[in-house]
Amino acid sequence: MKRETIIQNIKIRSGKDLLDFQDKSKNRIYFTVNKTILPQIAKYLFNDANARFSTASGVDTRKAVEILYHFAVDDIGLFISLRVILEKPNLEIDSLLGLFKCAEWIEMEMHEMLGVNFKGHEDPKHLLLKDDWPKGNYPLRRD
């Protein structure tokens, strides 16, 4: 699938939920989308565009927590980052676990490090760095 087709398709599918699009370089593109549309876009990328879920990174920008979902389209060497901005204190987002299993560990990691809740991800135990790590203390939060 061509680079332009993927960009077009994401734009069409997200419609007015697409907040920002940044064409940084030949192999790096960033979309900022509403969190409601995220599962659909992820589904499109994984199922139709043959993208591989690479990882997700959470960033605390003091007012909000940004989550970047990184997808790699290996056929054309494209690295797509879907940015979702979660306003504090309402840190909740749908889990992508239903789409692919590799989301499991990274979502747990973000939950433990940044305190983001993932709906649909059965969180077995609140387990931070060690078993008796203090509750509500998230190492990568900045507040």
Binding site: L129, K130, D131, W133, P139
Partner: protein
Amino acid sequence: MSLRLKALTKSIWVYHMSTGSCNNCDIEIIDMLTPRFDAERFGITLVGSVRHADAILVTGSLNLKAVPRIKQVYEQAAKPCVIIAIGTCSCGQGIFKNGPNCPNPVDSILPVDIYIPGCPPKPEAMIAGIVKLIEKLNGKK
């Protein structure tokens, strides 16, 4: 008496314990056993169970989750058993000194007998360290 001491120093079975290391010290420890350095010349063998160990090699910057584990492992060891801290991390925490998850130096938890610094120490350095340990044991008794 001297035979006992000789036996202790000539047949050191080591048990290797990583407490949050970067793996470099650990592969250099294994390298110590392989053909170029061949620590078996001195009777040094790697064993699988801490019950068989005469020396515990501790590597890494001791993260919080590993603290209870290494205490437990040390208690299970059959005495006499020496502790050797290998690598800058376990000697003085190294680059991870300010890390929130590894606040304790190894020697605040375990009685470390010798330190072998380096990032990672070369196998030669480890063998030299163990020779120093043997000298220390011989001098002490």
